[in-house]
């Protein structure tokens, strides 16, 4: 994990520093929608500003074995480290604004024609601070992060939980090619392909397990809103990244409960 320095402005250009200064003086920018903005306020938080972290990362090379299903550890590590870097930088920016956390975090990957083995990892979110200074940070002292919308954030707090951090797990996996003889023997039949099933299954499990490990580190009660995504980042069709992301939550406030829900008929 990259080291975290709350005072670091590493890599933030002059214009960005000025923007942060301006945000500190009270003007905030955010990509929250109107309802999100109002609900974040309702939850007792003030939006402080849009915070960004990015990292252009050179992704190393690893030779895959044609006939072997295996994790591409070099690539897994690159994808993980680069995202972690982008997230850390975003958290540092948030810290500059004195934020308790960041909501509505989006993680994007940009690829450019001019850099074949490169990818830009971007994390964007809105930094927020609690009005009465209740401590809402993650146990490791960083601002909390979450990919929850303003509405979800409010609902979560109402139900007696709070987000502690976005948790990620990633696994880049090479799926073995099928042997020609085997393919010929099975030609024209309805059969399951256990090698493919096992490889894709294994890769997904690895990604989910790593996400869980991150949540355990944050002493989370659980993870909500898990998304499993699959990408092939131009490594050829047999090399696939499995990426699991969700928001780790902890109990907060003593046994708060939402009101008994009222069934409604949506007329809009």
């Amino acid at each position: 994990m990259s080291t975290y320095d709350p005072t670091s402005l590493e890599g933030v250009p002059q214009a960005g520093r000025e923007r942060l200064e301006q945000n500190k003086r009270g003007l905030f920018t955010s990509d929250l929608s109107v309802s999100e903005f109002l609900l974040v306020k309702e939850a007792g938080f003030e939006p402080l500003g849009l915070v960004v972290g990015s990292s252009i990362f050179h992704i190393g090379f690893q030779q895959s074995n044609w006939s072997k299903s295996q994790e591409m550890t070099v690539l897994s590590e690159a994808m993980y480290t680069a995202r972690e870097l982008a997230m850390t930088r975003m958290e540092e920016e948030a810290d500059q604004l004195g934020a308790d956390g960041v909501v509505g975090v989006r993680l994007d990957i940009g690829r450019y024609e001019w850099g074949e083995n490169m990818a830009e990892f971007i994390a964007i979110g809105t930094a927020i601070r609690h009005r009465d200074g209740e401590l809402h940070r993650a146990p490791n002292g960083r601002p909390f992060t979450s990919d929850l919308s303003g509405q979800d954030f409010w609902t979560l707090l109402q139900s007696g939980h709070r987000p502690v951090g976005m948790v990620l797990g990633s696994c880049v996996y090479h799926v073995a090619h099928r042997g020609m003889f085997k393919a010929m023997r099975q030609a024209g039949q309805n059969v399951e392909l256990p090698n493919f099933t096992q490889a894709l299954y294994d890769a997904r499990e690895l990604a989910m397990e790593r996400m869980q490990a991150e949540a355990q580190e944050l002493q989370a009660e659980g993870i909500v809103g898990v998304q499993l995504r699959e990408h092939s980042h131009g490594w050829g069709s047999h090399v696939i990244e499995f990426f699991a992301v969700g928001t780790a939550i902890v109990p907060h406030g003593d046994g708060r409960q939402i009101q008994a829900p009222t069934p409604v008929l949506d007329l809009s």
Binding site: T73, T155, Q189, Y201, R210, G225, Q257, V264, L267
Partner: protein, 313 residues
């Protein structure tokens, strides 16, 4: 740290060990079971009293706590399946009415692959020691590296119902958590997810062929009855299968039915009369079978109509 440690530690370093493990996993998959890593993950989640994973939205999560339902784990099953060789039915195309033939190999491939994936999801759910799996959703994928093969991935969130006796037969449903809770509140129990696929090959009759090809396609608006009938037949076939399955499981109704349809066309050369376009219609059905538990209970408090303001969530 978790990731980097595990990268340096177990995986890839000890190649023989990894190979042995992989071979074992493949053997497990061949017998219709789940890989070792999956079993380990489920056992860990089932044993821990605090940690859970879930694909639940925050609203659903808040709701389930209120209703005494506890998420345990996100469960998954998948299968990569090779669709066998399928011959297309031969037809002169001279008949007046359209004809439909089921492409049985393809239908079977979908149904078996899904059964395998669902079986694995069920196995994970059993290991998690849950009562039900909600939000069961299928994604059929075609990875770039697969040719004619299909991959079916099925996901859901395993939940424990407070105050119910432990069971070794968790119930699957494609309903969302809020729907699941609402249904239970009203006095119904899901009995399981029902799914079916039909793949139908439709050869249009002469009249429809004339309307879709050649200069006659400039004729006024008309229904292409043979194609319509083909679509109907495929849908009825799939729905009928889903109904049969629900009935066998003891369900008295099926709710939350989602239909997914694909239509592909295949051009066929006809000696003497040019080309005709046949249809390949694929229908997937998923729904949840339910039974009534005692009396139907009215929703309390009364339903309130609302108009949503602001941006949709």
């Amino acid at each position: 740290m978790g990731l980097l440690d595990s990268l340096r530690g177990g995986n890839g370093q000890d190649d023989d060990e990894a190979d042995r493990r992989r071979a074992e996993d493949v053997a497990r998959v061949e017998s219709g079971s789940i890989p070792l890593a999956a079993e380990r993950r489920m056992r860990e989640l089932a044993a821990s009293t605090t940690g859970f994973t879930s694909g639940l939205s925050v609203a659903d999560f808040a709701l389930c706590r209120e209703a005494g339902v506890r998420p345990v784990a996100q469960v998954m099953g998948s299968s990569v399946y090779q669709v066998g060789w399928q011959s297309y039915p031969w037809s002169t195309g001279w008949q007046t009415r359209g004809t439909g033939f089921e492409l049985e190999t393809v239908s079977q491939a979908w149904n078996r692959a899904r059964a395998l994936a669902l079986g694995r999801l069920t196995e994970e759910a059993e290991l998690a020691g849950c009562h039900a799996v909600v939000d069961v959703a299928f994604t059929g994928r075609r990875h770039a590296f697969l040719g004619g093969e299909i991959e079916i991935v099925v996901n859901g969130t395993a939940v424990v119902l407070d105050g119910e006796r432990p069971t070794d037969k968790p119930i699957l449903t494609d309903l969302s958590m809020s729907d699941f809770l609402l249904l239970r509140r009203a006095g119904y129990d899901p009995v399981g997810v029902v799914t079916a696929t039909s793949v139908l090959y439709v050869v249009p009759g002469y009249a429809t062929q004339r309307l879709t090809g050649g200069w006659q396609r400039f004729q006024p608006n008309q229904e292409l009855t043979d194609n319509t009938e083909g679509l109907y037949a495929a849908r009825e076939l799939a729905l009928g299968r889903a109904n049969d399955e629900a009935w066998r499981n003891g369900a008295t109704a099926v709710v939350g039915v989602a239909l997914d349809q694909h239509i592909a066309t295949r051009e066929v050369d006809q000696t003497g009369s040019g080309k005709r376009e046949d249809l390949i219609v694929t229908f997937h059905v998923i729904g949840t079978g339910i039974v009534q538990r005692g009396e139907h209970r009215r929703l309390e408090p009364e339903i309130q109509p609302v108009v949503r303001q602001g941006a949709p969530t």
